[in-house]
């Protein structure tokens, strides 16, 4: 920092920031324009007559129930985050702290699937979900995705880094594995659990290819496949499409602002497994 002039330095950083922020601001501003103003040449930056017409159009159409999509997205993303926390933390605890036959093999198998590209599983999983009667329902968005190896891998690493003294003290007091897990390990792991919850929520919220193919009824959709429907239905009525995109963006942007530390932590960790 010492050799760089602060003004030049911050000019570069702010200039770069505009590249990332401007398109998002443009999306937000467009939602308050009329359809014709949104595509006017030369373009206007601020809406000349701000209107919430795009939102009214969006909310008023039974074929595109955006509020329902929003609710479905919240339910699916929350449901999956909770499920991942529950099952991954238990499995990770066994792999980090308990001794049993086949431990290495099981862990190896789970890790190996980190390298299995997701698309290989799409077609057989479509058939499985169909067999299980979960097609066109939110269960299809909640359960299969919870099988991902990242949660187990991530929590196992974290549990291994915890000091053993507290667990050993609990053993001396006669606690069994379940009590140690729920009363000692989990409370010590709040940051890691928060990180995993946020990453799971974001991943599920943004999932696109899987919901397009396993959901069919408009009222079952989540926001990402909903946006594809909006694009088809409103073609060049961009304020309506941008309004849908804004609805899909605000929750995750807010979550990112509030839980930035956890998101960055989760992403940083994914690279350090090398």
């Amino acid at each position: 920092m010492s050799r760089v002039k602060p003004i030049a330095w911050y000019t570069v950083l702010i200039g770069l920031s505009l590249v990332f922020v401007a398109p998002l601001v443009w999306m937000a501003l467009t939602t308050f324009k009329t359809s014709s103003e949104a595509t006017r040449v030369p373009p206007t930056v601020f809406p000349s007559e701000p209107t919430t017409g795009a939102f009214s159009t969006l909310m008023g159409n039974d074929q595109t129930p955006v509020l329902r999509w929003f609710l479905n997205s919240v339910l699916a993303a929350t449901g999956q985050a909770v499920l991942v926390l529950a099952i991954a933390s238990m499995a990770a605890y066994a792999l980090a702290r308990l001794e049993f036959r086949g431990k290495k093999l099981i862990f190896g198998m789970i890790i190996a699937t980190l390298f299995v590209p997701g698309f290989v599983l799409i077609i057989p999983n479509f058939l499985l979900v169909d067999r299980l009667g979960m097609l066109d329902s939110l269960w299809a968005l909640i359960i299969p995705g919870a099988a991902g190896a990242f949660g187990v891998f991530f929590l196992r690493q974290f549990f291994l880094s915890l000091p053993r003294e507290l667990e050993e003290a609990a053993v001396l007091e006669g606690a069994n594995s379940w009590q140690i897990f729920t009363r000692v390990v989990l409370p010590l792991s709040k940051p890691a659990l928060a990180t995993l919850a946020v990453i799971s929520f974001l991943t599920n919220w943004n999932d696109f290819i899987w919901p397009i193919y396993v959901l069919f009824s408009p009222e079952q959709f989540t926001l990402p496949p909903g946006l594809a429907i909006l694009q088809g239905a409103y073609t060049i009525n961009y304020p309506v499409i941008m309004a849908g995109a804004l609805v899909a963006s605000i929750p995750v942007l807010l979550l990112f602002v509030v839980a930035q530390r956890y998101v960055i932590e989760g992403v940083s960790r994914s690279g350090l497994k090398g």
Binding site: L83, L98, I106, S177, I241, M242, V257, V267, L272
Partner: protein, 317 residues
């Protein structure tokens, strides 16, 4: 690296404990398996079983809508290499679309985020704010960034062409409908969207490089470039390996950008392998053929990943 030390430290400690708590362990032989059970059920059902089931499907003429699913051996695979088959030209066209996209986006996604990470790897006010801003597009899903850029880059109505026109540049570039522009769009949007992800991983790696190494390099007096080559790059090796393999895999998985921004246009030129597999398997319901394609693509990716690993190993010795 905290992760690695934890891994190497574990075995002796566990051996010790197995002796001390041996009696408790024996009475609770089943306990570890009970802890594993819920995850194992989901994992076996939705990862292991489908990985095998998919292979089985690929050996059949598996039409979802028809009752009969006759066994055809390797015919679905052979069709992909037989220029007379119905899928041949579409399959190779889509595979080359994925290859073009990967070939252009991977180098950019390796270099630009590294430069950004080096820029951010200093002490200054507002560092975390700028890092968050550069990362922000990544928290939005492909659906949001897809419809957004489709709007911004609309050849006739989009703001990008209006601004370019207003400052005297060509204002009629077919960003989403013509070649090579559609590739410029798909690669550019993807780089814009995901570079923050790789930058954050690099940044974590940079912070793990011991400061003393830089100080030693400074005493040797090699200048900034020598410092980068002899300290930064070697220190980042494991992270670089991860970023390279991961970026290749993610690029080869490209789907949403083409689906929403170019819709495969012009013609089917920017229809990627995943788009074609999904269309054959989940729109036309020819699942045997689509499953065969997905295994062939997986095999390609495996070979590429192994080559990348090799490359990094050789540089080691």
């Amino acid at each position: 690296m905290a992760a690695e030390t934890a891994l190497t430290r574990t075995p002796p400690v566990q051996a010790e404990e197995a002796g001390a708590g041996g009696r408790v362990r024996r009475t609770a032989l089943l306990t570890p398996y009970l802890f594993l059970l819920p995850y194992a059920v989901v994992f076996c059902t939705f990862v292991l079983a489908p990985a095998v089931y998919g292979l089985w499907i690929s050996l059949h003429d598996w039409d979802y809508l028809l009752p009969g699913k006759p066994f055809v051996g390797l015919d679905n695979y052979k069709a992909l290499f037989d220029s007379n088959s119905a899928v041949y030209s579409f399959w190779w066209e889509s595979l080359s679309a994925t290859a073009i996209f990967t070939a252009f986006s991977v180098p950019l996604l390796l270099v630009i985020p590294l430069m950004l990470a080096l820029l951010l790897n200093r002490n200054f006010r507002g560092r975390t704010v700028f890092r968050a801003i550069y990362f922000a597009p990544y928290v939005l899903g492909v659906a949001v960034i897809g419809v957004l850029w489709r709007f911004l880059l609309d050849p006739n109505l989009g703001v990008v062409n209006s601004v370019l026109g207003a400052i005297g540049l060509p204002g009629d570039t077919p960003w989403t409908t013509g070649l090579p522009w559609a590739w410029v769009t798909l690669v550019g949007v993807t780089v814009w969207w995901t570079l923050g992800f790789n930058a954050v991983i690099y940044l974590a790696g940079l912070q793990d490089i011991p400061r003393e190494l830089y100080e030693a390099a400074r005493i040797d007096g090699g200048g900034k470039w020598a410092e980068f080559r002899h300290v930064t790059l070697p220190g980042l090796r494991p992270v670089l390996l991860f970023v390279t393999v991961n970026t290749v895999l993610v690029s080869a998985n490209m789907f949403g950008q083409s689906y929403l921004i170019t819709q495969g246009a012009p013609g089917t030129e920017t229809r990627t392998a995943i788009m074609y597999i999904a269309q054959v398997g989940l729109s036309d319901y020819k699942m045997g053929s689509a499953a065969a394609m997905s295994y062939l693509l997986t095999a390609c990716l495996l070979v590429i990943s192994l080559l990348v690993f090799r490359l990094f190993r050789e540089k080691d010795s």
